[in-house]
Each structure stands twice: as C-alpha cells, then as structure tokens.
C-alpha cells in the first residue's frame, strides 16, 4: 500500500512495453490465412512455350517454391541473384508466377489491348528479362490478369510460397528474399517440410 504512488509508473511501463513491441512488427506484412491450407489450383500458360499449360497438380509429391515476379518489379531485381544462386545449388525447385507482366507495368497502357497481343508481349518481356538477369526457375507461368495472384492472396511483388508434396502452402515470404532469409528461414523450412512429408 505504501508503494501506491508507483502504480502509474508501472502502468506506463506496461504500455511502453506494448508500444515497443508494436514497433518491431511490420504492418506491411499481412499474415496469410492460406498457411497450411491447400494452394489454390491453377492452370496457366508457360513462359517458355505459351502453348503448353502448367498446373499446380503437376508438382504433386514435390516440395517447391512458387515465386511471384514481374519484369517491372524493382524489388524482384534485388532478390533475383539469391534465386539464381539457389538454382545453382539445386536445393529446391522454384516455379515462377509471372504476375501481370503487361498490365501491372505502370509505364505501359494495356487498356484495349487484345488478350493475345498482351500474352505475346508478356512472353517477350518476361523472356528478355530472364535472359538479362538469369533464369532460376524450373519454369514460369503467366498470370496475365492477376487472378491467380488474388487466389494466392498476393498483394505485392515479390512474394514466395513454400508448397509441400500434398499441395499445401506451408510458408509465405513477403518481399524480396535476402541471402539471410534463404539460409535462416526458407531452407530450414524446406527441410522441415521434407522431413514431415
């Protein structure tokens, strides 16, 4: 009872503690509700051969990464060497989801463009970019209108999903992958998922 005057101090310290914890959180990282849920099924045209389709079911039984990218995405350039390095080490297959290659580019007006023309342009741009920066992907698919992106809850590029052999999303990385992210979080997760399933 004698230390009653200390009560406001402790209340303040408690509040300050909560606020300090809040400062360490990143409000841009919205937790995905899709973790541990089946990845949304999709079938999309491939960048290397748009006549061929690739679907989620093709990866059944494999642990793999789905990396969302686009040639207009600046942060993708930052993470790209990390993916190229990962591909050289042959640790885990990475499938590229090319997100709104044409209509996502703010410097381009894709209005009124026919879908065929847009697909053609997207293929050309994606290939050119992969030619310039290296292609770490097992293959890339074209999400022309971003619909598959919405199904995956993509709200920015790049994003990366870890998908297990049963087609479940096990982890989501938001933003560019740094070498540290890869070594300390993603690769251990890949190992964990492989052991589990």
């Amino acid at each position: 009872m004698k230390a009653k005057f200390l009560v406001p101090l402790f209340l303040f310290l408690g509040l300050a503690g909560f606020l300090a914890f809040g400062l360490t959180l990143n409000p841009r990282e919205v937790p995905s509700p899709l973790i541990d849920k089946p990845a949304p099924a999709f079938t999309l045209a491939r960048v290397d051969d748009p006549a061929q389709q690739f679907s989620l079911a093709d990866m059944r039984g494999k642990v793999w990464l789905l990396n969302v990218w686009a040639s207009w995405c600046v942060a993708c350039r930052q993470e790209h060497p990390v993916l190229v390095d990962l591909a050289h080490r042959n640790l885990v297959p990475v499938v590229g989801l090319n997100y709104k290659e044409v209509r996502g580019d703010g410097q381009l007006d894709a209005r009124g463009m026919a879908l065929d023309a847009e697909t053609g342009l997207a293929v050309e741009r994606a290939r050119r970019w992969l030619g310039e920066h290296g292609n770490p992907y097992m293959l890339s698919v074209l999400d022309i209108d971003g619909r598959v992106g919405i199904d995956f809850g993509v709200y920015g590029v790049p994003e990366t999903f870890l998908i297990d052999g049963n087609g479940k999303i096990r982890y989501k990385h938001i933003g560019p992958i740094t070498p540290e992210n890869l070594q300390q979080v993603i690769l251990p997760k890949v190992e964990e998922v492989r052991r589990a399933g």
Binding site: V30, P33, I150
Partner: protein, 189 residues
C-alpha cells in the same frame, strides 16, 4: 528574427498558398477519386445496373486495400484495389451474396481486409475491452465513494469524551482543558 523574414517573403507566401491549395485538394481527393480519376488512370468499370453498383461501392468501402493500408478498396487507386473492386463487381453480378464476396476475400487475405473485425476468440479483448474498462472504472468509483462515506462517517462521529466536552461548551461553561483558539495563538506569536 529570421523566421519572420521567411514568413513575410513573397515567395514563401506563394509557397504557403500553394501548400494550402494542395491541402484543400487532398481533402477533396477521396470524393474526386471515386467520381473522376485523373486522365491517364484506368477508368473505373461501372456496373450498368445502378443498384448493383451501389452494392459494389458499399462493400468496397468496407474492405481494406492491402497496398495503401489506410484506404478502402473503393478509395484506393492502387492496381490491386482496382482488381479487387472488379472481383467484387463480377461476383455480385454473378448473383453471389455480399457475405460470399466477403468470405472470398477473407479466405485469401485474412481478416485484415475487413475494416470491421469479426467477433471471435482473438478479437474478444478488442470488442470487450472498452466495456470491461468501463465496468472496472464504475466498480473502482463505487468502491472509492463507499470508502469515503465510511471514512467521513468515522471522522464526524464523536467519541463519548468529545460528546461530553461539546455538551459542556454548548452549556456555556469554560472548560479548563480547552485548546487555545487560533486568535490566541496569533496574538502570542
């Protein structure tokens, strides 16, 4: 004072005027953004049926844009907000209910897309917190009021000796052990 000079400088005044105009524009912007996007932006698609469009707008105002997190998807001009608005419009046009559309978006982006968080285990504190604080405050107040009443009752109640002395004073007697009055004390010092 340099600050005064800067303020009175005509160029500074022009800058201030421009800032004021900008502030006014920003203030008006949300209304404009919905009605008439600036040239060069992708014109919003609008459903032909005005009632459907009203539903789309109503729903879009309740959904949070994930790119500009402090705007709803109705207010934001981010490409993703546009895509999501189109999704809302398409699905409502296809005859789905508003709840279906909300569920569709929550399944992909989580409760984060809702400006009004649902009541469930993790949000209980959020929803119940203010009421709990109010009740705690009322309880504390009641406790304090009651305790003060008890304390003041104890203060005003006279012991038997005090009672006897009060009786004596009222009877006009001059009790020998009366404490010196304040007037006496003052005159002595």
């Amino acid at each position: 004072m340099p600050a005064d000079r800067i303020l009175l400088h005509p160029r500074a005044l022009r800058v201030l005027a421009r800032a004021g105009a900008l502030a006014a524009m920003l203030w008006l912007a949300p209304a404009q953004a919905v009605d008439a996007p600036p040239a060069g932006e992708i014109a919003p698609t609008v459903a032909a049926d005005p009632r459907l469009e009203a539903d789309v707008q109503e729903l879009a105002h309740k959904l949070r844009c994930l790119v500009c997190q402090n705007q709803s998807i109705a207010e934001s001009n981010a490409p993703l907000a546009l895509d999501l608005r189109n999704q809302v419009r398409e699905q409502l046009a296809a005859g789905r209910s508003k709840q279906d559309v909300v569920d569709y978006l929550v399944a992909r982006y989580g409760d984060f897309v809702l400006y009004e968080p649902p009541v469930k285990g993790i949000t209980l504190l959020l929803w119940g917190g203010p009421a709990a604080l109010l009740l705690a405050g009322i309880g504390w107040l009641a406790y304090r009021v009651r305790r003060r009443a008890v304390e003041s009752a104890a203060l005003t109640a006279l012991s038997e000796a005090e009672h006897a002395r009060a009786q004596a004073l009222l009877a006009g007697g001059a009790p020998g052990d009366a404490p010196p009055s304040s007037a006496n004390r003052e005159s002595r010092s």
